[in-house]
Amino acid sequence: MNGSLLACSRIVKSLGGKTVLDALTFTVAPGEVTVLLGSDGAGKTTLLRLALGLLRPETGEMDVCGFDPVFEGDALRQVVGFVPQEPDAYPWMTPRDLFRFLRPQYPAWSEAHALEVAGALQVPLTTPFSRLSRTDGMKAMLAAALAPAPRLLLLDEPFAGVDAAARDELLRDVMREVRDGRRTVLCATHDLDVAARVADRVAILARGAIAQHGTLAQILGPEAEPSRAPARIHELLAAAERGEVLS
């Protein structure tokens, strides 16, 4: 595993007859926030679901926190947090219900921490998910994902569809929580601004493989200005989609 919390080697995965990931090789270093960038349909969610053992690769090897996701999924999911694109808890559940439901599943679950995060994120604990806003729903899901102190946190487009103000607030709170816990995060997004603001490393996923992977400085180049980071990432992403590599 070479010290990485997530390591994929030549992963191939097809969905609906289309090859989504094609010999993908990728690692996530511990204690870092890695942003997985890619356009819609690039395979970001597929990669996260593979990492969580919810999909099975056709070929290739994968190691997540020392577990094989295919055969050790149950154990793996005790140490990996996951925040989906949409809050997908049962509509009748309140965030407090969700915590109560999840608590027995995780040996390291901390109810206090869940409530602390939920409080910090101002999650309405007694409102059912059916009546929560998407932002509040995502906050609740994030609190639930962080409560068992996961070694790896997988975020699947958590900021998509959230308005800019709410996104900034959510992003700030998320990053505080992540930084405070020195957590390893793999965040799949196509939001370049998010990538520019939170990423220690950026991986660009295009055409079923990692086109570029490195620190933000490595990706942007030494002379790139921070304010131009989203634009530069966009260029890189567009080039990767075309199969080119920009220097």
Partner: protein, 621 residues
């Protein structure tokens, strides 16, 4: 349990509204019964258990069938799958919830019905049906995982049960299902409980894993079902094979009946396997056995067995043996004619299409074994539903208006009704007094009548109808068959002696029985069932001689020596049923012993040989 508790709570929250609706609405059912059913039925002891079953069924349909499809429909399978407990914890919680829901619904239904209908007593035996509801419920879970909608799960489960059980049911019959084998209860319980859990795990946990759906679940679940159904299908296949094959060496081999082909070389057997535990026969198998080489061949299982063509009475040889074939259900049946000498098929076709030369052969054989004689010695025989006789010029003529085949023998005549007897010697019908046992003879007939506790014997003039006391017959005398020359076999029960009597004069001549010393004979008779004279192919008379002890023998009468040549051979200890097949050359005859073996015995000798298929016997018989 700590892990399952939140899942149980989740299930309750998921189905709370339906269950509460059930609790609220169910009391209307017994109320409706109270209004609509007659008081006797509403207060029946089985009504509360029935309500319990009804409650369980309603919950089964409304809740259990939706446990998995509802998750899939709402897209929550992915949510459950990404939890550390995975789909397994969710599934076991669903089963636990199922048990609690069904038990709760049954208890509630029972109590509500008991409270509203107030039956005088409760017949708890009716609660056994709940076991089947529970079994159905357990299997509804895996089946519902294969289907997009829960409403299809219950009929789907019933169809699955039918597919698994149908071959067995078809084989043993609904009344015999489940078969009473030692392994049946264990297999059924295992199939219904453990099988359901296994199939559900394969369907839901494995089938829905990695983002798969109902199709993958169905594939995996059905593999489990196929494995589980294997014992039932294997048992069925084994039983079918047993029933559709026949092994004469097996202990359950059973000979229904046998016919002897012309010449005495071949025996035509109708056989089956006999299950003494259930007193049930397997498929019918026809076998052709070569009595000389002992080789046999099965003629395949068939809805019909061999039947005689020429002569219905036992002991005959058959020029042609026929076996109906075809589709019984559609009525498309034809007859296969087999050559009694060779066993080869003569021709298939309708009976009316039988070639004339075969008819002639069959007639010749029937003629050679003709049971009756006219006064001038002309032979009379039954043939193809009627009676035929040979005329003095050698031609064959039919005898009109004689009944067939139920008419019993009356000496040398035929009883056509209680007061009408046909006299073959005279060739006409004669009216007789009612209630008499008639023996038709060339001269005066002999009539016997029970008067109070004794039998009296009379001479009867068929020309005038006059009766007169028969001389020379006493109360201890038991008249038997009429010999061709008109004399009557008589057993003197007091002395145990046999004789031939001339009824008109009372003159007797002693008849000896081969190889006897001090035995006492009490009866001589024509063999059952028709009491027609029984003859060997050579025309010699065969009678049945019984001892005081009830033991009897077939015996051929030798008129030259006035001796009854009985077969003295021992047929085997424990043999209870002997069935005459036919007479072979040189005074041999063939019998079926205890529906199991073919035994050859000799008249006038002690030889007794098992021809086939002994000596195995079913110890249970």
């Amino acid at each position: 349990m700590k892990l399952l508790a939140p899942y149980l709570w989740k299930e309750w929250r998921d189905h709370r509204s339906v269950l509460l609706g059930f609790l609220a609405a169910f009391p209307f059912l017994p109320l409706l019964a109270l209004l609509l059913l007659p008081p006797g039925l509403a207060g029946h002891g089985g009504i509360a258990p029935l309500a319990a079953a009804a409650g369980a069924c309603i919950v089964l349909l409304a809740v259990v069938a939706e446990l998995i499809p509802a998750e899939a429909r709402r897209g929550k399978v992915a949510f459950l799958a990404r939890l550390p407990g995975g789909l397994g914890a969710a599934l076991w919680a669903k089963f636990l919830f199922l048990l609690m829901a069904l038990a709760g619904a049954a208890l509630y239904g029972f109590l509500v019905a008991w409270a509203i209908l107030r039956p005088e007593r409760v017949e708890l035996g009716y609660l056994r049906g709940l076991g089947w509801v529970l079994a159905l419920g357990l299997w509804v879970v895996p089946v519902s995982a294969w289907l997009p909608r829960g409403v299809l799960a219950v009929p789907g489960t019933l169809l699955l049960f039918a597919l698994v059980a149908l071959p067995v049911v078809l084989l043993v019959g609904p009344a015999q299902f489940p078969p009473r084998n030692a392994w049946t209860p264990g297999f059924l319980q295992g199939f219904l409980v453990l099988g359901a859990l296994w199939a559900a795990r394969a369907s839901f946990v494995r089938g829905y894993r990695f983002g798969r759906g109902p199709a993958a679940a169905a594939w995996r679940g059905l593999i489990v079902v196929a494995i589980l159904a294997l014992p039932a299908y294997a048992w069925t296949a084994s039983r079918l094979r047993q029933e559709r094959s026949v092994d004469p060496r097996a202990s359950d081999f059973h000979i229904h009946c046998a016919f002897l082909g012309e010449g005495g070389r071949l025996a035509f057997l109708n056989t089956a396997r006999y299950d003494s535990n259930r007193d049930r026969y397997g498929a019918l198998h026809t076998i052709i056995l070569d009595l000389e080489s002992k080789e046999w061949r099965s003629e395949a299982d068939t809805p019909y067995g061999f039947g005689p063509e020429s002569f219905a009475e036992r002991g005959a040889q058959h020029a042609i043996v026929r076996r109906p074939e075809g589709d019984v259900v559609n009525g498309d049946v034809w007859v296969r004619y087999l050559d009694g000498r060779t066993g080869e098929a003569l021709r298939s076709g309708w009976r009316s299409q039988e070639p004339a030369e075969f008819t002639a052969r069959a007639r010749d054989v029937a003629r050679s074994m003709a049971p009756f004689r006219r006064a001038d010695g002309g032979r009379i025989w039954p043939f193809r539903g009627g009676w035929e006789q040979e005329m003095p010029d050698g031609t064959v003529a039919a005898i009109a208006d004689l009944p067939w085949p139920g008419a019993g023998g009356a000496g040398l005549g035929l009883v056509c009704s209680p007061t009408r007897v046909f006299d073959f010697a005279r060739g006409r019908m004669v009216q007789v007094p009612p209630g008499c046992e008639v023996r038709v003879r060339p001269g005066m007939w002999l009539l016997s009548k029970a008067i109070r506790d004794r039998r009296e014997h009379f001479l009867f003039d068929p020309e005038t109808g006059e009766l007169s006391p028969a001389p020379g017959l006493e109360g201890n005398d038991a008249p038997g068959p009429v010999h061709d020359d008109g004399r009557v076999f008589v057993a003197d029960r007091a002395r145990g002696r046999l004789s031939l009597l001339v009824p008109e004069t009372g003159e007797r001549s002693d008849v000896t029985v081969f190889d006897t010393r001090h035995e006492l004979f009490t009866e001589v008779s024509d063999p059952a069932p028709c009491s027609w004279p029984l003859r060997t192919p050579g025309g010699a008379r065969v009678v049945r001689v019984a001892k005081e002890s009830g033991v009897w023998w077939y015996a051929r009468f030798d008129p030259r020596t006035q001796t009854l040549l009985r077969a003295t051979g021992a047929v085997g200890s424990g043999a209870t049923e002997l069935d005459l097949v036919g007479f072979l050359p040189d005074d041999w005859f063939l019998i079926v012993r205890d529906h199991r073996d073919l035994v050859r015995m000799k008249l006038g000798g002690g030889q007794c040989q098992v021809v086939a298929f002994g000596p195995q016997r079913d110890p249970r018989k």
